[in-house]
């Protein structure tokens, strides 16, 4: 099982957390820890610890496709650190 720490910056919309969590679940990842903060610039920060047998790229690629997601970064991952994804 691999653990990954994700930092997301997303648009402030009522359903955005639900959108992100749906993708996390559907793509085979489990949320171990979660915190969320509304920012003053109409964005929201979501920090998540997820774990899965799967590679994190499968998840971050799909999260990055969500229209409301501004960017999604992998801060820490074990054991594969080179899979850091960033939305351009």
């Amino acid at each position: 099982m691999n653990n990954y720490s994700l930092a997301l910056n997303v648009q402030q919309r009522p359903e955005v957390l639900e959108r992100v969590l749906r993708v996390v679940r559907h793509r085979g990842f489990k949320v171990a820890n979660l915190s969320m903060q509304l920012n003053s610039n109409n964005s929201t920060s979501i920090d998540m610890l997820v774990h899965s047998e799967r590679e994190i790229g499968l998840l971050t690629n799909q999260i990055n496709k969500l229209i409301d997601v501004i960017d999604c970064r992998v801060l820490l991952s074990s054991p594969t650190a080179e899979l850091v994804q960033q939305k351009g």
């Binding site: 959108r19 749906r22 499968l58 990055n64 229209i67």
Partner: protein, 559 residues
């Protein structure tokens, strides 16, 4: 309209739709969408009344797929909206641009379990590319514009806009929003060089062409690429029509029900060039042994598909209309031995239609139909054995001439999709090929045909079975035919006649020619009901979990 003039939200909805070039929408009215239907009344936007919201959304899908334009459908709150789910999921899996507009109960009562209230936004999360609920009338027009932009840009898909009733009747000043500039991924010169290099090093390259080519309007670029490079090719179900059957080295469909030549050649290739396709399990068979010795170049608009199932040597996200010409190079006679080998496979494993007996052999009939269709034709398929026979034995000039529910495999797709296609391309000859199981799933749309006298031709292939499931029961479930007998089907020709649609039954191979001619030459809609031998199955078949070279071949038996 004069500056400062106020209009209702509902009128703004119609105006925004018309501004996107949509001339016909498909839908079904109800309480929470009544203001929008009121605005529709007398507006320049035409409306086609379906008899089930699923049919309306499939018609929008058919309209979009046959024309390349975004399809639009309307439904009311609650049951109207829930009925859209299947069609939207279908559009999502096949990347079809659709905008679905649903009425919602008024904002004041949202969350109170009001009459016909459902959390449509929540429901839409897994069956759309994106979705919106408009909670204030000021957001209405910008949201609609954004919805159209999202539906058609990048990898296209369905977008849902849920509009509460009070927003529909609130007043606003209509202003055309600034068009968003979509940032598409761009390829780099290094990626192009790497891909060109791999191609120039290859001895046995193969193109694996998916639906993305048609969606990107890159058919001409693909055909140029094939012509110049001489690289042999195969297509997925959605890729059919991207390459014409007379193209040298083109082996037809690959995968579970692909041609033997296509599957064997892909397994032998040393370079697989994947164009607008995504390694679907119906295509790859056992993924670990799919084109095992090949390097991979993967081209797609959706970066999330690159490396999702197979790690490519070169991955390029971007517009195929630019990438394909950049990769086109003439390598002379380099591929000649491979081309010869592929040509020999094509010859050796070609389809045969010379089947003895009186009964109708569907593959032969469909092949005859393909030869009889005029140049500008659309074939909308349903789902099942007949769908695979269409894919194997018919041929198409362009991908938009073949509408088939590929990713979701949705029974009931064919009839409403054909209705949408006929609306989008009124001059085209539109044929639905359906099965007795699939046809019943949206049979109510015969009324839509009746209402508009749409000259849609229906070829109903009937084996009185849920054929594809029966085939699997026969092969993989010890011939335990659980609930796949449909011998209590209605009299389909009599049923069509209840909708003022003429038809006829044929039972024998010798009646096929006259039957097809009567259907195609009839002026209005027509139903040709074809009873086929229920022993026929779809061959070849790659069993689940097997590698594509391990195809099962013809072993039909009477059930």
């Amino acid at each position: 309209m004069e500056a400062g003039q106020m209009i209702r939200g509902a009128d703004a909805v119609i105006k925004a739709i018309a501004a996107h070039g949509v001339t016909t929408v498909f839908g079904y009215p109800g309480g929470a969408i009544m203001p929008i239907y009121d605005a529709l009344y007398g507006s320049p936007v035409e409306h086609l009344l379906s008899r089930h919201e699923q049919g309306a959304a499939f018609a929008a899908v058919g309209y979009a797929r046959a024309s390349g334009q975004t399809g639009v459908c309307f439904a009311t709150s609650g049951p109207g909206a829930t009925n859209l789910v299947t069609s939207l999921a279908d559009a999502l899996l096949d990347s079809v641009p659709v905008v679905a507009i649903t009425g919602q109960v008024s904002t004041a009562v949202i969350g109170t379990d009001a009459f016909q209230e459902v959390d449509v936004l929540g429901m839409s999360l897994s069956c759309t590319k994106h979705s919106f609920m408009v909670t204030h009338v000021d957001e209405l027009v910008p949201t609609l514009y954004k919805a159209f932009e999202i539906a058609a840009s990048g990898r296209p898909g369905p977008v849902l806009v849920d509009i509460p009733k009070d927003v529909q009747i609130a007043m606003l000043e209509y202003k055309t929003p600034l068009q968003a500039v979509t940032q598409e991924p761009e390829h780099t010169p290094e990626q192009i060089n790497d891909a060109r290099e791999l191609i120039s090093q290859a001895k046995q390259p193969m193109l694996y062409v998916g639906g993305g080519v048609g969606m990107a309007s890159a058919v001409d670029q693909l055909r140029d690429f094939i012509k110049v490079t001489g690289i042999p090719s195969v297509a997925t179900l959605k890729g059919l029509g991207s390459i014409t059957i007379d193209t040298p080295g083109y082996l037809g469909m690959l995968g579970m029900h692909g041609s033997k030549a296509a599957n064997l050649a892909v397994q032998e290739c040393d370079l697989l060039i994947v164009v607008g396709a995504r390694f679907d399990d119906r295509v790859t068979g056992r993924l670990a042994s799919f084109a095992e010795n090949a390097k991979v170049i993967h081209l797609d608009i959706d970066a999330a598909e690159l490396g999702k199932l197979r790690l490519p040597e070169v991955a390029i996200a971007g517009d195929l209309r630019q990438i394909l010409p950049a990769l086109t190079q003439n390598l002379g006679e380099q591929f000649a031995p491979w081309q010869a080998k592929v040509a020999q496979m094509k010859q050796e494993f070609q389809w045969r239609y010379d089947r003895p007996g009186e009964l109708i052999y569907a593959p032969a009939m469909l092949n005859r139909l393909a030869h009889k269709l005029p140049q500008d034709s659309v074939v909308a398929c349903d789902v099942g054995q007949h769908q695979m026979w269409v894919a194997q034995h018919m041929f198409f000039n362009r991908p938009e001439d073949h509408l088939s529910s590929a990713g979701l495999g949705t029974m009931g797709f064919g009839l409403p999709a054909a209705i949408g296609a006929k609306v989008a391309r009124p001059d085209a000859c539109v044929v639905v090929v359906s099965g007795d199981g699939s046809f019943m799933m949206n049979v109510q749309e015969l009324t839509t045909i009746k209402r508009k006298r749409l000259p849609v031709k229906i070829l109903l292939v009937d084996n009185q079975k849920l054929g594809m499931v029966k085939q699997w029961q026969q092969l993989f479930f010890e011939e335990r035919y659980s609930e796949t007998d449909l011998s209590d089907n209605p009299d389909f020709v009599k049923m069509a006649s209840a909708f003022d649609i003429p038809g006829r039954n044929i039972y024998k191979a010798c009646d096929v020619e006259a039957g097809l001619d009567e259907m195609l030459n009839s002026q209005g809609p027509f139903l040709l009901h074809v009873s086929i031998d229920d022993a026929h199955n779809v061959w070849p078949l790659v069993p689940p979990g097997a590698s594509n070279q391990d195809m099962m071949e013809e072993m039909d038996k009477q059930t």
